[in-house]
Amino acid sequence: MSRPARTLLPGPPPAVRRVRGNAAGGRAWLLAMAVIALPAVLPLAAVATGFWGPDGDVVAHLREHVLPRVAVNTAILVTGVVVGAGLLGTSLAWLVAVFDFPGRRLFSWALLLPMAVPGYVMAFVYIGLLDYAGPVQSALRDWLGEGAALPPIRSTGGVIAVMTLTLYPYVYLIARNAFLTQGRRALEVGRSLGLSPARGFLRVALPMARPWLAGGLLLVAMETLADFGTVAAFNYDTFTTAIYQAWFAMFSLDAALHLAAFLILPVLAVVALERRLRGGARYTPTDARAGLLRLPGLRGWLAAAAAGGVLTVAFLLPFAQLLVWSLPSLAAVDVRFLEATGNSLFLAASGAVLIVAMALLLSYAHRLRPGAAGSTLARVATLGYALPGPVLAVGVFVPLALLSNRLTGWLPADWGTISLQTTLATLLLAYAARFLAVGHTPVDASMQRITPSLDDAAASLGVTGLRRLARIHLPMLKTGLLTGATLVFVDVMKEMPITLMTRPYGWDTLATRVYEFTAEGQWERAALPGVALVLAGLLPVALLTLRADRRAV
């Protein structure tokens, strides 16, 4: 099959068209997708059984007294955080991708840093600072008298603000990539048709970046749904806290799974919404010549102040607070602490490599074998991100433990006890079940931007299958792969419940060290591993952004 040579030229944006392999190859790829989806299917199936689980006393109670409230709360929270992170992430991305202002290069990567600060840390810092008993309000009272007060931080607005600050980088990172590749050009089209930069942003760049923004916002929505640490610090009740309550306070895992099964419904709704928004993802080639717009004088400094303000609030302040807390315990740096750091780095790096490789195969398989079955598998494989960590942990742990028990009984006695549930492989697969969405979103976005005619061209040269993936796609996907790897790396670093449950003996990480102390509210002692966690999380962020800066100034 040959196509007109025209499509090989850098030319008009090609249609979104998937490349079909032959039928037999197609089935093989579908199978590959099924294998990749397996780690996520396991816990999801465990949760889904909760749907038909016993609708007992606990569930009836939750239905009457808890669910109506948490449903409303969850909806408000997700909406608020998605809107907040969307606005903040998109506008900052636009600012650094299109305009030149003092400090732009620095802000371009530094604005990603808040990603490395776990949400529960940010929550604790801001509640500590801004609550009635905190230093800010105390100073205000000393100054202006007893009546002086700020709006309460422990409120719906407060939890939305803090989660927005921790989650906006997901949108920022993805939007920045979109704007760097096509935003300046979109702006020029707008301006050649008489639109000011502001209107060009709203009417051209934003609609064109919509598919990528939708991906970022989906990540934010799922992360918000799954969050426990931050909402718990605010005592803000959501679906997730209700799941915790059913499981840990009312001793009913069945009821917890039942609720988790209900949680999957809004997730599916959000996913469907994202698919609609994504609708017409299309590639517009980069025009490297489109330059930055210089913001002169005061306007430039205002832009720098805005970016600096966000950076201060979302990163510098909480990090400084962590540093202050960690100073007295610097002496506590011992061998075990270094071991935990090493384990964290190792797990995060292997998790990032594994998950990005899975995401790549998933995305490529879907490219070769488009269709409803593939779409569904891709969706299922990434659903784990919306499940609260402990639910996913138990969903992985319990089936594997049962399997191990069977195996132990079945194998010769001198083989000893099999415990698949606490091995590195299981830990990594559980990470995969949880974070595949994080790796998949940027990888898939990059994959979709590769014009299908390239696949045809490669095929015409006899390069197909995995060789084509390696020789044609990989080099073009570098940015997407690195972005995915960074996000996964940072997320694995911060992950607690799965690590706690499925880590092999001795595999303590910085996050489990943090847990040891935060579980009993000893924040000062948790600060040192917290600082190490943030610093280690910064590594890939710095690498990624330095590379991105070299490519697109």
Partner: protein, 343 residues
């Protein structure tokens, strides 16, 4: 050979299984594996000392209580765990109720630990005691105004009370015990009264409650004794004090609500003897003193002296009802607090 996706997947599976099998853990025979939800830094030094004294290696695996119970359940007969240590009687009761712990006959433990601080069937034993009692601002509250938990529901405390979230098991145990003492109806009334008196939405932890009291947002609260101890240790002349609640209350309501951290021997242990020995070792002498003192708690063994700072808070009468009741009624307590709007 051309690698296709299925072939690669197969290769991964094979490699993965090899890895999995290689990782299945086996410990030495006399080793003791402890599953614990008590903070590692409170426990590890003791276990190290035990290993030193007896030559028995001890492995510590930490996680939250709920996760550990789930883990024991799933692992069943093949669990590597020999002993479970967790905080809160509710969790211990739950572990026993799920059949995860075995009853042990140990005269030492029976002697050392008072009856109301251990399972009547001997499946778990309290190792340290924490009182959950009233804390107040010494500059704004006269201790004579304070009496019982129930009294904090009175109108005189309107907008003066701070509480931690009802999602913390400590409050669930407290309310469960109140249900035992005063019945469900009366308890719900009391909890509603508390909610009406709150000066601020419930806090995420006890430390925040005490800081709010100090800052003047409220005047009284209910906290675990060791949280107060930690704060007092950092700042000896803090203007807060503990009040032992319910000292003059009538009948079953008499006594401060106490809770325990404690442990038991896992039902499917391969080393019941070793685990029992470790548990007994923890219940007496220097080990028992340290177990409590490291966290500013009271030793469960009345023969062992608490830390000086703890002793300085004075004597109190604890509620004598067996703490296991807290576990039994925990679900009811949670439901009650939900109904009463205590978040």
């Amino acid at each position: 050979m051309r690698m296709t996706a299925p072939r690669i997947a197969l290769a991964c599976l094979v490699a993965g299984s090899a890895w999995l099998a290689g990782c299945a853990d086996t410990g030495s025979d006399d080793e003791i594996t402890v599953y614990s939800s008590r903070q590692e830094h409170l426990l590890q030094p003791l276990l190290d000392r035990y290993s030193e004294e007896t030559g028995t290696p001890v492995r510590l695996v930490t996680d939250s209580a709920g996760a550990l119970l789930q883990r024991l359940q799933a692992e069943g007969e093949n669990t590597p765990a020999d002993m479970l240590i967790t905080v809160d009687a509710g969790n211990l009761w739950q572990a026993a109720d799920l059949g995860l712990l075995r009853a042990i006959e140990s005269p030492t433990l029976a002697d050392n630990i008072p009856a109301h601080l251990r399972d009547p069937e001997g499946r778990w034993y309290g190792l340290s005691v924490r009182a959950r009692t009233i804390v107040y601002a010494t500059d704004r509250v006269d201790p004579s105004e304070l009496s019982t938990y129930a009294a904090l529901a009175g109108d005189e405390w309107r907008n003066r009370l701070c509480l931690r979230t009802s999602k913390k098991v400590y409050n669930q145990s407290l309310v469960a015990m109140m249900i035992v003492q005063r019945g469900e109806e009366r308890t719900e009334e009391i909890v509603r009264g508390w909610v009406d008196n709150l000066a601020a939405p419930p806090f995420a932890n006890d430390v925040a409650v005490m800081e709010a009291i100090r800052a003047g947002q409220c005047d009284v609260g209910i906290v675990n004794s060791y949280y107060f101890g930690r704060l007092q240790k950092e700042e000896p002349d803090i203007p807060l004090a503990l009040h032992w609640a319910n000292q003059d209350a009538e009948g079953r309501a008499r006594g401060v609500h106490v809770n325990i951290s404690g442990g038991g021997v896992v039902r499917h242990t391969g080393n019941a003897e070793g685990a029992t020995a470790l548990l007994a070792w923890l219940s007496a002498g220097e080990a028992q003193h340290l177990f409590a003192a490291l966290n500013l708690e009271f030793p469960a063994n009345p023969a062992v002296a608490p830390a000086d700072q703890v002793a300085a808070w004075g004597e109190f009468t604890p509620n004598p009802i067996n703490v296991a009741k807290a576990g039994e009624l925990q679900t009811e307590a949670v439901k009650l607090m939900d109904r009463a709007g205590y978040r």
